[in-house]
């Protein structure tokens, strides 16, 4: 960004040549460089102090036995090598949390993307008239506070009088006690998360769809391709960068799955909905900073690897 703005004024000077012009130009560039540094300095300082510093600090923390009581004398703590990482990986609940998170991601991400894409296609092709209204309606859960959403979903998922079980009873199904059941608690949270998050992926898909020129589809139509074929062999390949973007951002968000179990189930019943982020948060609360930061970095590495794989699979060929 900054280098682009720096080079922009050079363009008209291109034509001029000769030593005088050259030296004038490098002097101007020096001043511009200095100005750029001065102008970016506040950001650089803030970045170092509040992003890079703490991140490196927490990485260091993950190799120590730092506990809450040591916070007043943090340089006197002992290095413990990788033992926090070992402890985290041996922790039964942490492993359960990792499995739960994998479950959530593997089911939740495809569902979210499929729903988002379907909604985007419908909005782009079908409902032209009320498009803005539907866009707002689908996006609304994304911007609504999780606490308000939790209250509503508790009504939906309530065992006897809940909306979902009432609807199920109309077709003769005796619905479970969603949030209190070991089997159904996680699907309930996935349902809620998909409903809550598909709107933002949908907006991005919609932008991607609207960026595809109508002529592409017309050409496909002339070649005799049916609507599913056009979608499968024209639209989806052209949407590849958009799909990459949404799957990466949704994937990262879902790997850090925290709020739904935190407000709805507190990880229960029987740890069936505890997530890695939530368990890490709990360890911070107990003052086990070493183990908690180690857990954070395990999650970080997993996210980095998965994102790398996604880029590999979905990049433009």
């Amino acid at each position: 960004m900054s280098s682009a703005t720096l080079q922009a004024p050079e363009v008209p000077q291109r034509k001029s040549s000769g030593p005088a012009a050259r030296s004038r130009r490098s002097g101007a560039r020096g001043r511009q460089t200095a100005a750029a540094w001065i102008l970016t300095l506040p950001f650089v300082v803030l970045f170092l102090a509040f992003t890079a510093g703490p991140v490196l600090g927490s990485l260091g923390m993950s190799f120590t036995d730092l506990k809450q009581r040591d916070l007043r004398t943090p340089f006197a703590v002992n290095g413990v090598g990788f033992s926090n990482y070992v402890k985290a990986l041996q922790d039964e609940t942490f492993r359960k949390a990792a499995l739960n998170t994998a479950y959530f991601v593997l089911v939740g991400v495809p569902l979210t993307l499929a729903l988002a894409l379907a909604a985007a296609v419908l909005l782009d092709r079908g409902v032209k008239r009320f498009q803005s209204l539907f866009k707002v309606a689908y996006y609304l859960p994304v911007i609504t506070s999780i606490v308000a959403i939790a209250v509503i979903w508790r009504f939906v998922l309530a065992p006897e009088s809940g909306l979902l079980n009432t609807v199920l009873s109309w077709v003769g199904i005796d619905g479970p006690n969603w949030l209190a059941s070991k089997t159904w608690a996680m699907p309930s949270l996935i349902m809620m998360a998909v409903w809550r998050n598909f709107g933002s992926a949908m907006i991005i898909f919609l932008a991607g769809l609207q960026g595809i020129p109508a002529t592409v589809e017309e050409a496909g139509q002339l070649d005799g391709a049916g609507s599913w074929q056009r979608f499968r062999y024209l639209i989806v390949p052209l949407l590849r960068p958009t799909i990459l973007f949404t799957s990466v951002t949704t994937g990262i968000g879902y790997l850090q799955f925290f709020e739904e179990p935190f407000v709805m189930t507190q990880g229960g019943p029987l740890n069936s909905t505890v997530s890695v982020s939530m368990y890490t948060y709990q360890q911070f609360g107990f003052g086990n900073y070493g183990v908690a930061t180690a857990m954070s970095y395990i999650l970080f590495v997993v996210i980095a690897v998965i994102t790398f794989i996604q880029f590999r699979l979905l990049r433009e060929k």
């Binding site: 509040f50 992003t51 510093g53 703490p54 991140v55 600090g57 927490s58 923390m61 730092l66 506990k67 809450q68 009581r69 040591d70 916070l71 007043r72 004398t73 943090p74 340089f75 006197a76 703590v77 609940t93 994304v142 309530a158 065992p159 006690n177 949030l179 209190a180 070991k182 998050n197 933002s200 992926a201 951002t249 949704t250 990262i252 968000g253 879902y254 850090q256 799955f257 925290f258 709020e259 507190q266 229960g268 019943p269 029987l270 740890n271 982020s277 890490t280 948060y281 709990q282 911070f284 609360g285 107990f286 003052g287 086990n288 900073y289 908690a292 930061t293 954070s296």
Partner: protein, 430 residues
Amino acid sequence: MFTHTTRRRLVIGGAALTATALALTGCGRSADSGDSAPKATTSIGDGPATGELSVWAMGTEGENLPKLTAAFEQANPGVKVKVTPIPWDAAHSKFTTAITAQTVPDAAMVGTTWMGEFADLDALDPTPASIDTSGFFEGANETTKVGETSYGVPWYVETRLVYYRKDLAAKAGITTPPTDWDGLKAMAKAMKEKAGAKYGINLQPGGTGSWQTVMPFAWSAGAAITGDDQKEFTFDTPEMQEGLKYYQSFFTDKLAGTDLPPNQTEAQFVSGQVPMFISGPWMAGSVAKLGGEKIKPNIGVFQLPKNKTATSFVGGSNFVVFKNSKNKDSAWKLVKWLSDAKTQAQWFKLSTDLPAVKSAWEDPSIASDPLLPVFGKQLEDAKAPPAIVNWEQVATAFDAEVEKMAKSGQSPADTAKAIQTKAASIGTGS
């Protein structure tokens, strides 16, 4: 999708805390972790309190306390008390952050189970000898002690009783409340079979805070959380197993349910679905609020049933003075005034928090209440967990194992063993 911000904040927050702590305190682990019990350094002077006092209090206490401290300011014209109300769910982290950054108030209300942790952080001032603690309930007094040293005074207390529907008990043929374990079981059974209840009694099937209902049964059977020196956990004992076994039997006999939605205790009590539960004094109010005038005469309470003892849980809050306070003398004067029987009775009228001082219970506002004197009697036999630094963490492990026992049939012996193993690996933290 936006959860990453939350987590990032946590990681960065943790590190920023470290950086702040570094900047504020310099480095080097302090060498004052000696074994000798700290002695009180403050003695309270005779004159009136002076200067400015900052006080933190949580929840409704934080909102109501200024009304009380206004009277303190009138009696001590030179003093100015500033109360900062803090929401309960943010309180613990606010305290630990303030302790680390040394920006603590002069005095504060502190949850009883936090005492060990805060004392371990070397934040609390030992109670001056001139404060007489003999008038407090013994169980409440114990919550101020960490090791041999007392930090602060009990401010208000609560304990747990068995609530029951009088009308439904009559229908079930029970005229006098039970006094022993078999009696309680028989009553729950009668409620279910004769009074048309879905379950006889509402017991928490594990989950946050369930240890507060389970431990009284274990205590009553003679169990203890730690040995006398508070260094080793003693969860895996026959007494603990007996308590767990009794608790589990309510679930295996279908007298208590694992499938009830949480936070519906009042509603199920009012509807008669589950006409008994074990809880603290605030429940009388919230049941009456939900059920209206019709339910009021039908709310009954009785003391926990007896095995070896009939021990209940004692909770509440203490009032402490911080070591870093600049105005300790006046802060302790405020604390002393708050623990005076007259002030405590007045505070009950403002807040309905039960007094920690026994003599305050003679005030007619409490003595003439149909339910409250029973709580007073139960307080004579009520316990709190020892002030262990890592208690919150041990309690979480305890709750998780109780959940396995209630919901998936883990045996009481395995449960006791699992709690012991987990607690031992967490450690007492001292």
